[in-house]
């Protein structure tokens, strides 16, 4: 675990920087409030209702696709490190794995899952 000591040190240093910056303006800046200033900024229009409403399902589709391919990338890393020892067997196994996922990607593209209109 010795090699992770610098990570811990850097996390503490980064945390101190973030803490100072988070509270710098609170300490140093002035504070004023007015009815207009407290509104959510929507280019001058009076805001209608809360912003925490519904949004397009397309963003969820991108997230689901991300999970599938991110897991694939995670499998590819150890394979890439030891690829020279695995040889032909490793190549064919990973080729089949990637092909299955590419079929899924082609299906999603053909179904229009990535169109934003």
């Amino acid at each position: 675990m010795d090699q992770y000591v610098p990570v811990l040190i850097a996390l503490i240093l980064g945390g101190v920087v973030a803490l100072v910056m988070t509270f710098a303006s609170t300490m140093l800046g002035v504070k004023t409030h007015s009815a207009v200033k407290d509104e959510p900024f929507e280019c001058g229009n009076p805001p209608s209702g809360s912003a925490w409403g519904r949004f397009s399902v397309k963003f969820y589709l991108a997230a689901i696709l991300f999970i599938v391919f991110d897991v694939e990338v995670v499998f590819l890393y150890p394979w890439a490190v030891v690829f020279r020892q695995l040889g032909l067997f490793g190549f064919i196994a990973m080729l089949l794995f990637v092909l299955v996922l590419v079929v899924g990607l082609v299906y999603e593209v053909k179904k229009g899952g990535l169109e934003s209109t």
């Binding site: 610098p6 980064g14 988070t22 900024f41 280019c43 890439a80 190549f91």
Partner: protein, 363 residues
């Protein structure tokens, strides 16, 4: 104890380096945009009066932080106050700790002690970088959601969709490099790039993986949310996206985060594709030219040359990203998604399998 002190000072050096370079890039960006657009820029803040060569560097570096730190810290009354306060820190801290795994020199020999010029010598360096960079997406999405503002929410969602979409080509491009060098250790990869192909060409990553370099550059700029990929903070559409309701030092943290991400991308491009601290033909005891001559150099000078080469390369790629930013127009959202999923992802997969096939056939 002395080992701990060395580790501590190397880590402190890297964190401070990233912070200061981030501040410097803010000036380079303002001055660079002024030069590119043929106007005078970033010369108004004049602490020391009118100097004959007032490029604004010192004044901008001093005046900008003072201005940002003394602005009002505005939290909208309808916002989720806890998350609104935490979001900039969650976005910034993982980025500040990323650069410590990048090696900036070979070894420094002082008084018989050999110090590896890399703050954290992790054997899974590449995975660490990917893990930390992807953590910063939480800052974007939480900042956008906690503000209780439609534009901020849209910016946060766009930002998260964009960052996770481009993380896949980013990771796959790196797999090409991992295949070529057979290691996840950044120092080991850099050392391997000191070899020569055919006695002449330095064995830098770009020679093995030119396609991966282009994919990584595109995906890296998208990860740092800069033009042409600045959909999350598109000024003409979303005011300023996920940090619309932020002010003062918290807004500065989001902007600093973007610059730090650009520095990380530049550092990774240097380390993986352009030989890191390697200078062609420079070994530990001096230059060994392929046409026969040698030039012996003291080891301290070699180390200084290597650190200087690394710094120059990183600065060049930071500058390149800023030039790209001020040259290209912004994508539409559907173009962004189709570039990521329909072009970069298949290209990166094909690059990985082709690299594997070539290794299989010729090694």
């Amino acid at each position: 104890m002395i080992d701990f002190l060395i580790t501590f000072s190397l880590t402190l050096l890297m964190v401070l380096m990233v912070l200061n370079l981030g501040g410097l890039l803010l000036w380079v960006e303002r001055k660079g945009s002024a030069v590119l657009q043929d106007r005078i820029g970033a010369n108004r803040a004049a602490v020391f009066g009118k100097l004959p060569f007032n490029l604004g560097i010192v004044n901008t570096l001093v005046a900008d932080p003072i201005k940002l730190f003394t602005k009002e810290d505005f939290v909208p009354p309808g916002a989720d106050k806890l998350l609104h306060t935490l979001a900039p820190a969650i976005g910034l801290v993982p980025l500040l700790v990323t650069f410590i795994v990048i090696p900036f020199g070979d070894v420094l020999i002082i008084g018989g002690r050999e110090i590896t010029l890399q703050a954290a010598n992790l054997n899974i360096g590449i995975l660490y970088v990917l893990a930390m960079v992807s953590l910063s997406v939480y800052g974007v999405v939480l900042g956008g959601w906690a503000s209780n503002n439609r534009w901020a929410l849209l910016g946060g969602i766009r930002g998260s969709a964009q960052m996770i979409s481009y993380e896949i080509p980013l990771g796959l491009a790196l797999i090409g490099v991992v295949l070529a060098f057979g290691s996840l250790d950044l120092q080991e990869i850099t050392r391997a790039q000191g070899a020569l192909i055919g006695g002449w060409i330095p064995a830098w990553g770009i020679v093995y993986q030119p396609v991966a370099f282009l994919i990584f550059l595109a995906a890296g700029i998208a990860e740092s949310k800069r033009i042409p990929f600045d959909l999350p903070e598109a000024e003409s559409e979303l005011i300023s996206g996920y940090f619309t309701e932020y002010s003062g030092a918290k807004q500065a943290m989001f902007m600093l985060g973007d610059f730090v991400e650009a520095i990380i991308v530049a550092g990774l491009i240097t380390t993986l594709f352009f030989g890191g601290w390697q200078i062609p033909f420079l070994l530990r005891d001096g230059f060994h030219f392929p046409w026969g001559g040698t030039l012996a150099l003291p080891s301290l000078l070699v180390t200084l040359l290597q650190v200087g080469a690394f710094t120059l390369k990183v600065l060049f790629f930071c500058w390149l990203q800023i030039m790209i930013r001020w040259t290209l127009p912004r994508f539409r959202y559907d173009q962004l998604i189709s570039l990521g999923w329909k072009i970069l992802l298949p290209l990166a997969l094909a690059n990985v399998m082709l690299t594997a096939l070539i290794i299989l056939l010729f090694e």
